[in-house]
Amino acid sequence: MKRRTGKADLQQAPVTFAKGVDERFQASTPLRALLNKVFPDHWSFLLGEIALFSFIILLLTGVFLTLFFDPSMTETAYEGAYPALRGTEMSQAYASSLHLSFEVRGGLFMRQMHHWAALLFMASIVVHMLRIFFTGAYRKPRETNWVIGMALFLLGFLAGFTGYSLPDDGLSGTGLRIASAIMLSIPVVGTWVSASIFGGEFPGHLIIGRFYIAHVLLIPGGLLALISVHLGLVFKQKHTQWPGPMRTNTNVVGERMFPRYALKQGGFFMAVFGTVALLAGLFQINPIWLFGPYRAAEVSSASQPDWYVMFMDGLVRLMPNWQIYIGDYSIPPLFWPAVVGLGFFTTAPMAWPWLEARKTGDKRIHNLLERPRDNPERVGIGSMAVTFFLWATISGANDVIADKFHISLNAMTWAGRIGLIVLPALAYFIAVRVCLGLQQHDREVLAHGVETGIIRRLPNGQFMEVHQPLGPVDDHGHPLPIEYGGWVVPKKMNRVGALAPAVKGFFFPVEKPSEAPVSPGMPPISGDTREEITSGRK
């Protein structure tokens, strides 16, 4: 029989605990697989992480905001700390937003963090999707994640819109008014849709409460579910990687998830969090107290939505006033950019992976990314989409541009309309040419070597530049042809190790510099023969 000792064996305690856990949950094998999972590394793989981290910040700050916000449209006379609005009739929602901004310690900071994180969330989704698109990361087997990504953008768009409508200030009320007009423009059922969502005629008394529950429960729930599936698929399918030494379509080259990769993720999260904190502290965003409560009769120029809605606003501005009449009924022009346009631009790209696979007949699995230049047509089409999006976004602020640069507003509108058709085509052409040019330069360096900048004069007086071959040479000293590997071709001498490695240390070297690589044909000058460079004076 074991002798009972007074003190527990502290060293043995974690082991016993771990054994107990494993006996109950059989966790050791999956846990080891998780600890050991290999992740490839590249800066561009971190763009999606920014979206994930922003989402976490949104959840954290959002919960704080709900503790103070009152989603009610009951009218009240403001009696709070902001003197300019005292005595003004306003909704409870607006009054509680003002209270949150002025009378809750740190409330304004949290509100601004929430708003900045939302802008960053959408921005990183867009940039992340550009990375996915231009490198062909959406190809089989990752089409599903591409579709989920588009859905996340759309959900984020709705989350943003419902969110900035909640304070019920002058600007968000105007946004709601336009949203109601967009609903009204839907053929046949428009008035029914608007009446059902607003609970009667605009604005009614329900919309803030309805948007609130959508904003804090339904949409975040959807986002959370989709993000979980998105990450689960990244995990299951393993991340794509760039081509390069040792990298093939059937392996992942990188580092184990724990400890190094996970630590780097943690550090990156803190950096993103810090960025949002700095933005929120130093840069004012959505100063609702300046807009006043929503009044149907009041709006000023420079009324812009958040940036990710601006492309739609721009399209609405640029749409010509073409009304379609069908007997006694009609379809207002607002319908095309705001309902059809938004629906098309957020869902049609979902089909892109299958469209491309069908066109190229490529049914293979792709785990290696493609450099954008190696697929000029894809880059061309992507550039078209980006140009269209940016031009529409710029047009969403055309009144501000017209005002600041003293351009006629009508000229801005016409430039927007014409540009929306002409510029994407131009962007396609330029992008394809740039890709082909870059491809050609890669092949040139592979064939002739790196330009050294050294000019040699031949006995006959001819000048020629010396090239450093990247690989073996033939008997005449001409480089043997090298196959293009789908990855960066070194184009500068320091990329092939021509410069000595940097010495570590800021004021003085902390270690002996390692030896520079030595070319057998050109032995370095030994230390003794070096002469100190002096000014020449004695």
Partner: protein, 368 residues
């Protein structure tokens, strides 16, 4: 035990993990082997232990953590002691939010960089290669699972096929339950926009019907009525229906722009208005009133350009020509702004002789 040779990582063989001679790294490597991972490079970033460079990195990381702690303390101090209540004018309270942002930002950045430096500079440099398994030819598993699913389908299906009563009963039983789930959602939310005799869509606060049959006065946002001489020539004023809550969002479609035109403009406006069935006789003297709610997306078309008599909507830049029945002349709006028939009552205040004769606000499918 030949497997202990580290110089042959290409062909690792299974080892007995209970072998007491194995180091911990050997056991870890066995785990890696089982996860099909090959540890190609695993080496310290420093020459020797306790090198000068290593100490320097450690010092820097420690410094970053200390900065993080100090900044976090500073955040707390500012949060607790700094005056933060809003006051008019330039006060120390203005710096409350920036101070929170700067201290928290520095703190989080320092933590972030400390962790990053730890991972990138201190941990051993490593390259691992793990095998992927997608795109493999179909395995037995695919076949087995597929057949199982079809079998399950058959089990259910044959049951239904052989028992037609069940088929009908299931259909009859489940379909209504599905509808029950949808009914409260649709039934509760749905609102008929046309339900009243005078649907809100087509009436505004200026409708005499809602004012006991009396003509509705034009009022300012504080509810005071307006006399013609209150608006100077070339001037304009936003007016609301003189009914309870007339200037609130209760009547979001009612704000109207009352304009006192110069007489030559007024003449032109009247000529155009009288040439139109709906606007005939709606002006009063040199005064004209148009709905302020843009017919495009419902923003208030509030920017009045006196010189050209144009009204501009700041949301999407639709422009309306006041003198020509507020016809849209630029931008996405299709429809002109409705004109409010003006009159003056016996006390000399402006009234609307009737509601707008055209539908106010953004356009929709069944607008008459």
């Amino acid at each position: 035990m030949t497997t202990l040779h580290h110089d042959a990582p290409d062909a690792p063989e299974p080892v007995d993990v209970h072998d007491p001679r194995l180091t911990r790294l050997d056991v870890v490597k066995e785990g890696l082997r089982r996860d099909e991972i090959e540890l190609v490079t695993y080496e310290s970033q420093f020459q020797g232990t306790n090198s000068k460079a290593e100490k320097r990195v450690v010092r820097n990381i420690a410094l970053l953590f200390i900065i993080a702690g100090l900044a976090a303390f500073a955040f707390l101090a500012f949060y607790i002691f700094w005056p933060w209540r809003f006051q008019l004018g330039h006060t120390a309270g203005d710096y409350f939010t920036p101070l929170l942002g700067i201290t928290l930002g520095i703190s989080l950045f320092a933590v972030g960089f400390a962790i990053l430096a730890w991972a990138k500079k201190l941990l051993p440099h490593e390259v691992s290669i793990q095998a992927r398994h997608d795109g493999m030819p179909p395995t037995d598993e695919q076949k087995i699972t597929g057949q199982t699913m079809i079998f399950v389908g058959d089990e259910l299906n044959q049951g239904v096929q052989r028992r037609p009563l069940l088929k009908g009963a299931i259909g009859f039983g489940l379909a209504p339950i599905g509808l029950v789930a949808a009914a409260p959602l649709i039934g509760g939310l749905i609102e008929n926009p046309h339900k009243a005799d005078q649907p809100d869509l087509f009436t505004t606060g200026f409708s005499p019907v809602k004012n006991g049959g009396n003509q509705v006065r034009l009022t300012r946002d504080d509810g005071t009525p307006i006399r013609p001489e209150d608006v100077s020539t070339g001037g304009q004023m936003t007016v609301y229906p003189g009914v309870p809550h007339g200037a609130t969002n209760e009547y979001a479609d009612s704000p109207t722009l009352l304009i006192h035109l110069r007489s030559d403009d007024a003449e032109e406006t009247r000529r155009n208005a009288d040439g139109d069935r709906r606007n005939r006789g709606s002006m009063w003297g040199d005064y004209v009133a148009y709905s302020k709610i843009c017919t495009h997306a419902g923003c208030p078309a509030s920017l009045y350009e006196q010189q050209t008599n144009r009204l501009l909507c700041p949301c999407h830049q639709s422009q309306f020509q006041i003198t020509r029945n507020a016809q849209p002349i630029f931008g996405p709006a299709t429809r002109r702004l409705p004109m409010l028939p003006l009159g003056v009552d016996e006390e000399g205040y402006f009234v609307a002789t009737s509601d707008f004769k055209d539908t106010v606000g953004p356009d929709f499918w069944e607008r008459p």
